[in-house]
């Protein structure tokens, strides 16, 4: 669903999972309104309140096995869907290296 050029397969997977989980918690009207989510879609455009955002983070932890914000990382600073996916990619590669 992401229209950016993506090369690394794992990157594609992570971003696809992030998009999939976002779509799962949005209501249908919002999904219709937003159209296709891209890496550039602003998180603020999703209209998620803080609890819904927390739900997204919890579901992503289940799906991807990491929570980049468990040590108090700042997701408020992330502006786009791509940046959110990037945080998971970083957390996953940090775990692989550890």
């Amino acid at each position: 669903m992401l229209s950016n050029t993506l090369t690394d397969t794992r990157t594609t997977d992570v971003q696809a999972t992030v998009v999939q989980e976002i779509v799962a918690i949005l209501d249908e009207d919002t999904v219709d309104e937003l159209g296709e989510l891209t890496a550039d879609t602003e998180l603020s455009a999703l209209g998620l309140n803080s609890l819904a955002f927390a739900r997204l983070i919890i579901k992503l932890e289940r799906a991807l096995g990491v929570d980049p914000f468990s040590q108090g990382g700042d997701f408020v600073a992330l502006r786009t869907v791509g940046a959110l996916a990037g945080a998971y990619e970083q957390a996953l590669s940090a775990r692989t290296e550890a």
């Binding site: 309140n49 609890l51 927390a54 739900r55 919890i58 579901k59 289940r62």
Partner: protein, 245 residues
């Protein structure tokens, strides 16, 4: 919740006392039940044999919150989610506050407040993801009225009340109800060491003139857990024969 069961309950300290009564009653009502304690004991061994598919026990110590977190996660691994958390396990040690070893006072707060907070977080994360649930914290009349010899325990139990109120506000929009059950004095291993004189004094001061029974406290927990209490959150239900009234 799945179609086959009432849901998944996690009851801390289900090996004895009120926890044992809750495990038995929840299983009878069709719940899948996970619990933990420091030791398994006869009840846990028997229930594991009788209900291998619906009952799960693991070892954890309230004095080590990381083991409590692990027990919560193990319950989720086993049953997939948590729909009901009963923060039941507690540790009581009586003694004059001014002469209590500082470490002991800290331990009482860790066991009766820090660990329940940790468990509530594990459970709430599961409930937020699955779209709802409930948390019931077991406090004590010691958190409502002052009693000698239980200062650190009372402080921790009153802390649980604060947890209930704030979580009810924060998690209500996620379909999660959070309440406190406040038992008065009832017979269990915890109160075994209490002398007959003290017992009589409590009975005298209790409008209903007797000690409570675990089943009566369990009734209140099961009521709050049921759809009959579907519009109740952030509340304290006191089951004490009137001693605090």
């Amino acid at each position: 919740m799945s179609d086959t069961t009432a849901g998944v309950a996690l009851v801390s300290g289900g090996s004895r006392g009120l926890g044992q009564t809750l495990v038995t009653r929840l299983l009878a009502e069709g719940w899948q039940v996970a619990t933990f304690s420091r030791t398994a004991g006869d009840f846990v061994e028997q229930t594991l044999k009788a209900e291998p598919d619906r009952f799960f026990w693991t070892e954890a110590d309230l004095l080590r919150p990381e083991t409590v977190r692990a027990a919560g996660k193990a319950a989720i691994d086993r049953f997939g989610r948590i729909d009901l958390l009963v923060n039941n396990a507690g540790v009581l040690e009586q003694g004059l506050f001014v002469t209590m070893p500082p470490r002991r006072a800290e331990d009482l707060v860790t066991a009766n407040l820090t660990s329940p907070v940790v468990l509530a977080q594990v459970a709430a994360r599961s409930m937020v993801a699955s779209g709802g649930g409930q948390i019931i914290n077991i406090s004590s009349v010691n958190a409502v009225r002052g009693y000698r010899g239980v200062a650190a325990y009372s402080a921790a139990k009153a802390g649980l009340d604060g947890l209930t109120h704030s979580l009810a506000r924060e998690l209500g929009p996620a379909g999660i109800r959070v309440n406190t059950v406040v038992p008065g004095f009832f017979d269990s291993d915890m109160t075994e060491g209490v002398g007959p004189e003290y017992r009589e004094r409590i009975q005298r001061r209790t409008p209903l003139g007797r000690l409570g029974d675990r089943a009566e406290v369990a009734d209140a927990v099961l009521f709050l857990a049921s759809p009959r209490a579907g519009f109740v959150t952030g509340q304290r239900l006191v089951i004490d024969g009137g001693i605090t009234c």
